[in-house]
């Protein structure tokens, strides 16, 4: 057995809140089967109190993908969307008694899917407006891209050398070599976090790490 906690295995074996809510108030599909993890979250939200009255998920993914989605649905059911938005991927991982570093990105995916669904609902209700993508927002998103080796953010690990947002193009310089073991994984994760932003046409990623001579 992998180094999964008992709680991860418990949720993997008996996932809570599985399925799809008919006539959901909001839904989000994050990730893609090509990347190996994909999550669909559907929500029922009380319009007056903003309380999440029901939440269900479906997952194409590994054990930690299923377990993080399952625990997250438990954590936010009955909470207001404002409270739910504050839940971080670290809290979800802690609630599962930890995740292996290489699997932390699954917790990020689950939290992102929830946030997307809430954001969509707020947009629908006119509670949020479309703001242009700022460097601050890009940095916030990049903090959720993890180095699978350590499970810590690429920003904290100083793998992000530089980035720039201009004319709908985000350019990112990573302090990694193109043949780094996790280069293609990190690249996919960055695209997953940024490609869908409404005013972004292109995300360019450069690997500028020093090549060994």
């Amino acid at each position: 057995m992998l180094s999964y906690s008992k709680k991860v295995i418990e949720h993997f074996k008996h996932p809570r809140n599985v399925g799809e809510i008919a006539n959901a108030d909001a839904e989000a599909l994050e990730g893609s089967p090509a990347c190996g993890d994909m999550l669909k979250i559907t929500l029922k939200i009380d319009e007056k109190t903003h309380v999440i009255t029901d939440i269900k998920f479906e997952s194409f993914g590994c054990a930690s993908n299923i377990a993080t989605a399952s625990i997250l649905t438990e954590m936010v059911k009955g909470k207001t969307i404002e409270e739910a938005e504050k839940v971080t991927w670290k809290q979800a991982a802690e609630e599962l008694e930890g995740l292996p570093p290489v699997k932390m990105h699954c917790a990020v995916l689950a939290v992102d899917a929830l946030k997307s669904a809430i954001e969509q609902w707020k947009e629908k209700k006119g509670l949020a407006d479309k703001k242009p993508t700022t460097p601050d927002k890009v940095l916030r998103k990049l903090r959720n891209v993890l180095n699978p080796l350590t499970g810590a953010s690429i920003v904290r690990m100083q793998l992000l050398r530089d980035f720039d947002v201009a004319d709908g193009v985000i350019t990112i310089d990573l302090d990694l070599t193109p043949d780094h073991k996790f280069a293609s994984h990190i690249q996919e994760e960055i695209h997953e976090k940024l490609d869908h932003l409404w005013d972004i046409k292109e995300v360019k990623i450069n690997f500028v790490g020093e090549l060994e001579s």
């Binding site: 992998l2 993997f12 994909m38 194409f60 073991k181």
Partner: protein, 387 residues
């Protein structure tokens, strides 16, 4: 330990008879097989080592002096490729396939940094080398070809006799990584015109930590490690005599009836999966594949989840899913076969041995049907009408 072990392409159970064969050389006759002028114990050890060498040579239609013992398949591949290229003093070009095991691919890719030019020939959708592409890749400066005997993930048997003929016509030495085929499918170094071939013991119920490189007499190699003058001055270090004895015993114990049994289990498994579980794809070929490897994709679900659920029921298998890989990347073998990423993520490898039984296959099938159906209920991709 798992009750049902279907991960025999990763490694196999040591046969108790092989362990018996090794025992005296571990416990009582522990002298090193130093050479021809040692003490009695060492001479006896030397004789045993040479017997093992001869038995292994015979199994591939080679001469005893063409067998160099190594620590396993990885070292044998490294010695073959690095040792051969090192012996040449000119710019070189090497041709291999895109689906070789890492100890071939990563060795060659590392050598690219030293100026070795490399062509990785593609495979078709069933995992067989594209012979036209292979032919076209050969150049006047091509000094080595490396094509595996059996693929480690999907079990395809490459047409080595044909490839050997092409190489012989152009006088290009052919190396084969035979780690996944030795003992399971035919391997004849003369019929296949092989110059080099890597073997290992632990895939056929021998011990881990012992392998061998076949090196045709006229092929020149340089050592890649330095030390004493063991193994024809190609591989220093005290010889692993218990390992060598076990390896010879293991190959001697591979009988045609075992292969038949293993092949029957594989066909039984695929027959049942194909007819009883919807949305599955075979990766590889049943009729042109090795008897012990079956690779199947289960659409709409991910391999690590299947693996863990089977493990909870005591069944050990392998998967090509990225979630299970150390680099979080889907199986490069399946991608080279043109499978989309999602099919690679949902791929499972079942690999069999003579110790597996019909009942184990039936139990695995029952578990698999339930698990696949459960996970599909959870997946946003499953077509809902028939699920």
């Amino acid at each position: 330990m798992n009750e049902i072990y279907l991960d025999n392409a990763t490694t196999t159970q040591l046969d108790p008879w092989v362990a018996e064969e090794m025992r005296p050389w571990l416990l009582e006759k522990y002298a090193a097989p130093t050479g021809h002028f040692g003490h009695q114990a060492s001479l006896e050890a030397k004789e045993k080592l040479e017997q093992a060498r001869a038995a292994i040579a015979e199994s591939i239609n080679a001469q005893p002096e063409e067998i160099v013992f190594t620590s396993g398949g990885t070292e044998a591949n490294n010695l073959a490729i690095q040792g051969y290229l090192k012996s040449l003093k000119k710019p070189v070009h090497v041709v291999t396939t895109a689906i070789e095991q890492e100890s071939v691919l990563n060795t060659l890719r590392a050598l690219q940094k030293d100026g070795v030019e490399l062509t990785e020939v593609g495979v078709d959708q069933d995992g067989f080398i594209k012979l036209e592409e292979f032919n076209a890749a050969l150049r006047p400066e091509t000094v080595l070809c490396s094509v595996q005997l059996v693929n480690q993930e999907v079990g395809t048997i490459q047409p080595l006799a044909q490839i050997g003929r092409i190489c012989a016509e152009k006088s290009i030495p052919l190396h084969t990584d035979a780690v996944h085929g030795w003992g399971m499918v035919g391997l004849d170094v003369k019929k296949m015109n092989l110059s080099l071939a890597a073997l290992t013991a632990h895939k056929i119920h021998g011990p881990k930590g012992i392998g061998a490189l076949y090196k045709r007499k006229d092929v020149k190699l340089s050592p890649i490690m330095y030390g004493g003058y063991n193994e024809f001055e190609l591989r220093p270090g005290t010889e692993n005599l218990p390992g060598a004895a076990g390896m010879a015993k293991a190959i001697g114990m591979m009988k045609p009836e075992h292969i038949e049994h293993i092949d029957k289990l594989r066909r039984m498994m695929w027959g049942a999966i194909g007819s009883q579980i919807p949305w599955v794809h075979l990766n590889g070929s049943v009729d042109r594949g090795a008897p012990h490897i079956l690779n199947v994709t289960f659409d709409y679900i991910e391999g690590e989840s299947i693996l863990l659920r089977l493990d909870m029921q005591g069944i050990a298998v392998a998967t090509g899913s990225a979630c299970f890989s150390k680099a979080l990347e889907a199986s490069y073998v399946l991608l080279a076969m043109g499978r989309p990423h999602e099919q690679a993520h949902g791929s499972m490898r079942f690999s069999f041995s003579r110790f597996n039984t019909d009942e184990e296959i039936a139990k695995t099938l029952d578990a698999l049907k339930e698990i696949v159906s459960d996970l599909r209920k959870l997946s946003p991709l499953t077509p809902r009408k028939e699920a």
